[in-house]
């Protein structure tokens, strides 16, 4: 089923592959509900988490997923690795290979770094977020979460709100949901809308109220607070006024709409606490599902001949 040795992005996946990962994840979700949550498939394998950008939840999620599969895990982050001594990415990668790692989970602020490593290494490269390109496991866990509530993806209306230009989560989700037949809308100020994004087959809105109408899924993105300094928007207050997800606005979507956020949240900036903690929020469910999805990805890639 799986031919590529790497998970670089949703772009590269077929619909069948996506469903296959989700089914596999479903099995692991059952495992996670057992009393003993550890299974043996990756015994003797080594997973290196190579994080060049601060991240708690993704790194911990990958670490725990690998451990649940009985792999050995090494965490390397910029603050502790030789990168601060000026080592090139190439040398870091080759060192990891020389150590005999089987997987490298890479998070980097520059788009295309997983592709760069993929060409350099014959071990599995898993993209845990590269610049504004992709964050495929996030999109997979989002699909998994939506499926568990809606039982299907096709013909759903997914509204993604926030800084689309700089968001890898937005991109991966746009690819994932459109591939599976949903209608994706993005809602953001025109300053944060990437060039020609409409060509991806999505609808674009700069008016929050219109964009939310009759949505099945509301996904709001973390706003990088430093964007204000580059005049993408005048103030956080104004941003919240125009695009903050409030209880009132959630009502514009379908009654049974679910509210998602990839985390970490800026409460009071892109989302109101009442919504984040409200009955329609599935934000913590996303975290739990992330673990199952990442187990599935590691497990499936382990089966690919290299």
């Amino acid at each position: 089923m799986f031919k590529a040795k790497d998970l670089l992005g949703i772009k590269e996946l077929t619909t069948d592959e996506i469903y296959y990962i989700l089914e596999t994840a479903s099995g692991f979700k059952d495992v996670l509900q057992r009393d003993i949550k550890k299974v043996p498939p990756l015994r003797g394998k080594t997973v290196v988490n190579l994080f060049f950008e601060p991240s708690t939840r993704t790194r911990i999620s990958f670490e725990l997923a690998a451990k649940r599969l009985s792999a050995d895990v090494i965490n390397l982050s910029t603050t502790t690795s030789s990168v601060v001594k000026g080592e090139t990415l190439k040398d870091t990668a080759l060192t990891i290979k020389a150590l005999g790692a089987d997987f490298v989970v890479i998070r980097h602020s520059s788009a295309g770094v997983p592709h760069f490593l993929s060409r350099l290494l014959n071990i599995s490269v898993i993209n845990a977020g590269d610049g504004a390109n992709e964050h495929p496991t996030q999109a997979l866990l989002d699909l998994f979460t939506v499926l568990s509530y809606k039982k299907k993806i096709k013909d759903l209306t997914i509204a993604i709100i926030g800084d689309i230009t700089h968001s890898r989560v937005a991109r991966s989700n746009i690819y994932a949901f459109t591939k599976l037949g949903a209608q994706v809308r993005v809602i953001c100020p025109p300053t944060l809308m990437p060039a020609e994004v409409k060509s991806l087959g999505i609808e674009i809105y700069s008016n929050m109220e219109e964009g939310l109408k009759k949505a099945d899924v509301i996904m709001t993105l973390r706003l990088q607070l430093e964007r204000q300094s580059k005049a993408f928007f005048p103030s956080l207050e104004e941003y919240f006024y125009l695009y903050g997800l409030t209880t009132e606005r959630v009502k514009l979507a379908k009654d049974n709409a679910i509210v998602m956020h990839p985390g970490p949240m800026n409460r009071g900036v892109e989302i109101e606490s009442e919504v984040a903690d409200g009955p329609q929020s599935v934000i913590l469910e996303q975290v739990t599902n992330g673990l199952a999805v990442r187990m599935a990805v590691l497990y499936l890639l382990a089966g690919v001949k290299k």
Binding site: T88, L89, S110, A111, G112, F116, N133, A195
Partner: protein
């Protein structure tokens, strides 16, 4: 030393020659061209043996150029030789060797070295180093502002006197419009062009490729065409205001072509160049995140490529320059965001230009104009012709022979070519620079 180049198809646009014939070179100068009068006629066959042959036959080196074109050596008005300061990327020695390999016999080197070429000392260093180690003629381009810092004018007279033939802050724009105005005004004293690298640094900040659909799906920061076009528009406006001589470097976008076309129609004193990568590639090729495609200004879209070709065809774009920007492999084996901008272009430029002839964008004569004659005119250098008495700068090129680009075999230190692996027509068989023969066969 005398050299007789026989049986080549001689093309010299300046003398309006495109015919089979022989060229005699003596003491580094072109002495005479003898043309075949009428193909195959008895008269021609008789005439084919030049008059000058009889006297000292033994002293001649004879080069058989049959099946090849013999053209004035190419002139690159936009080269980065990297020396002084970045000798690990390129040197005058390796850069000029790459030049002659590509059929170039003159290159004009940009001042963004370390130190910047903003003083007599650096200009003289380049000239002396070229005499010692260079394979072709090098014409230095001086900086417009001291240290290319966009604050104070460099001593343009001193630079001109010591050998600079144009001024540019290439690599960076002159962001300050007042300084640009004064540069265009002051340089009128010497009748030299101001070469403008057009980029609005605020708009391009952090960008690594063309802004558009492809940058959106790659998640790479885009550089909008507006970053170039705004500065093209500004400089054209300043050119009209001052009456100075403006040359727009590396034109990459449709909008820039349109602005320059309109300006020329209104009589503004502007010339412009583009580079082979802007008419040979589109941003879709960046899908692989290959850093060899990272260049500034960035590779644009199909629409822009078409506009560039149209601009070359209708004369809006006067020159094809290389913007040869060699880099060390370490500067390209990096994250896309962190990799250096630039393409090592000297050794593929003519063959890529030749594709335009195949596509009927240009004819051969026009291509030679844009790669030799016109840059010589703009720079006011005595190159780009095979006239009697001119420097013996020529290229002998087999138009039909094709080759596969192998950047690892470039003579340039910079192996950074997005054309690696391409099959191209037009093999440079020999280059003659100041009478010295480089044989590549």
């Amino acid at each position: 030393m005398k050299i007789l180049i026989k049986n080549g198809r001689i093309i010299d646009p300046l003398q309006d020659i495109d015919r089979k014939g022989d060229i005699l070179i003596e003491d580094g100068k072109i002495r005479e061209i003898t043309l075949v009068r009428k193909r195959g006629s008895a008269e021609a066959r008789k005439k084919k043996v030049p008059d000058f042959r009889a006297s000292e036959l033994s002293n001649f080196r004879t080069i058989d150029a049959s099946g090849c074109i013999v053209i004035p050596g190419l002139v690159d008005m936009h080269t980065h030789l990297r020396e002084p300061g970045f000798e690990y990327k390129e040197t005058i020695k390796t850069g000029t060797k790459a030049a002659v390999r590509g059929g170039f016999t003159s290159v004009c080197c940009m001042p963004n070295t370390n130190p910047v070429n903003d003083t007599i000392a650096v200009t003289e260093f380049i000239i002396k180093k070229t005499l010692k180690e260079g394979s072709c003629t090098v014409y230095p381009i001086g900086a417009i502002t001291k240290g290319q810092n966009d604050e104070e004018l460099a001593e343009l007279e001193a630079l001109k006197r010591s050998g600079c033939i144009a001024f540019s802050d290439d690599g960076r724009p002159v962001a300050n419009s007042l300084i640009m105005r004064h540069a265009l005004e002051y340089s009128k004293i010497f009748d030299v062009p101001i070469i403008s690298h057009c980029e609005d640094l605020h708009l391009s900040e952090g960008g690594v490729m063309n802004e558009g659909f492809v940058s959106t799906i790659l998640g790479l920061r885009g550089i909008p065409k507006a970053a170039e076009e705004i500065m093209v528009a500004r400089d054209l406006t300043l050119c009209r205001l001052t009456g100075g001589r403006l040359h727009i470097a590396h034109v990459s976008s449709e909008g820039s072509v349109r602005l320059i076309r309109d300006a020329k129609a209104r009589g503004i004193n502007v010339t412009a160049e583009t580079c082979p990568h802007y008419f040979s590639l589109t941003d879709e090729s960046l899908i692989s995140y290959d850093t060899n495609l990272k260049v500034n200004p960035p590779i644009r879209t199909e629409k822009d490529v078409e506009a560039i070709k149209q601009g070359l065809k209708d004369g809006t774009i006067d020159v094809i320059a290389t913007d040869h920007a060699p880099h060390h492999i370490d500067d390209k084996t990096k994250e896309f965001d962190a990799a250096s901008f630039g393409i090592s272009g000297l050794e593929t430029a003519f063959s890529l230009g030749l594709q335009l002839v195949g596509q009927e964008v240009l004819d051969l004569k026009q291509l030679i104009m844009k790669m030799s004659v016109t840059p010589s005119n703009i720079m006011r250098i005595p190159k780009g012709t095979l006239s009697s008495g001119a420097d013996a700068d020529l290229a002998i090129i087999n138009l039909e022979h094709s080759f596969v680009v192998d950047s690892s075999r470039f003579l340039s230190k910079g192996k950074n070519s997005p054309f690696n692996g391409w099959t191209l027509k037009g093999t440079v068989e020999k280059t003659i620079a100041m009478g010295k023969v480089y044989d590549w066969t």
